[in-house]
């Protein structure tokens, strides 16, 4: 499967990649986006099977990316890895069609719990 990792922090993209590997999902093709606009464009261009996105990014927020994709008819599996976690954000994410909401800091165990049903 192809996974797109969207985060404006390069270090955090590396940590997400490393944690995916630690959780046993190291064999998938990875694509990276450094802001929300790139995440949107690369999702349409690269057609990943899964998007793992930060919430607060330059150009477009993660939920804006998700809403824009859904408005265009794109149904890619999409979820958030973010330091911000409020009930209103989780509700907004679910309403937009997000599959998961992982809070930073996270662990490989949390990745395993969330991604095993998605990535197998």
């Amino acid at each position: 499967m192809k996974i797109l990792i969207a985060d404006d922090s390069r270090v955090m993209r590396q940590i997400v990649t490393r944690t995916l590997r630690q959780a046993g999902f190291g064999d998938h093709d990875l694509v990276e986006a450094a802001d929300g606009r790139q995440a949107y464009d690369l999702t349409l261009k690269e057609e990943p099977d899964l998007v793992i996105s930060d919430w607060n990014m330059p150009e477009m927020t993660g939920v804006e990316v998700l809403r824009a994709l859904r408005a265009k008819g794109n149904q890619v599996k999409f979820g958030f890895v973010t330091s911000e976690c409020t009930a209103e954000m989780q509700q907004a994410a679910e309403a937009a069609g997000a599959l998961f909401f992982i809070i930073k800091p996270f662990t490989a165990e949390r990745f395993d719990e969330v991604f095993s049903p998605i990535l197998g």
């Binding site: 404006d8 922090s9 390069r10 270090v11 955090m12 590396q14 940590i15 490393r18 607060n56 990014m57 330059p58 973010t82 330091s83 911000e84 976690c85 409020t86 009930a87 209103e88 809070i103 930073k104 800091p105 996270f106 662990t107």
Partner: protein
């Protein structure tokens, strides 16, 4: 919001314990050891601003060596291998993680900014319209580290008037 809902140093400690366990000290060998206030340690600085139903800043300050050690820990590299960009990225992400978690403790309707990072040891960073309301200061790998919250004066005036 009432003063009681503002996160405390205990809340900052709980957030930082999670950050250290996940990224800075996963083996549990080098925890952040709390000490008293550490004015003037700010060689490196990162902050996020919170606006909305609460106004203020979450600030991470540390020595240059602590910042380099933090970048190395995040990236699982040796300290001498990390670049200046790595250090800035990690400091900003530290402020972002702490700030995001602080936001979850505040009344609804808050927004967290993208991080602002200063890595020039000679730079001076001030918040002229805010006062520090709590600080978790400590040493990590024998280097000074401080995580603090600053509340805007206007916000405090509103709280007092409420």
């Amino acid at each position: 919001m009432s003063v009681d809902t503002v996160p405390t140093v205990e809340d900052l400690t709980e957030i930082c314990d999670q950050v250290w366990a996940s990224y800075l000290d996963p083996e549990g060998l080098n925890p952040l050891l709390p000490v008293g206030p550490m004015a003037g340690i700010g060689e490196m600085f990162a902050a996020v601003s919170i606006t909305g139903s609460w106004h203020g800043h979450v600030v991470v300050t540390c020595s240059a060596n602590a910042a380099r050690q933090a970048a190395a820990a995040f990236l699982v590299m040796e300290p001498e291998e990390v670049s200046g960009d790595d250090v800035a990225d990690v400091l900003g992400e530290l402020a972002n993680i702490v700030g995001g978690n602080v936001k979850s403790m505040l009344p609804s309707g808050c927004f967290v900014s993208l991080p602002h990072v200063v890595t020039n040891p000679g730079a001076s960073t001030r918040f002229p319209s805010a006062v520090q309301i709590c600080e978790l200061a400590g040493t990590w790998l024998d280097e000074p580290v401080s995580i603090s919250m600053w509340q805007s004066n206007g916000d405090r005036a509103e709280v007092r008037a409420a």
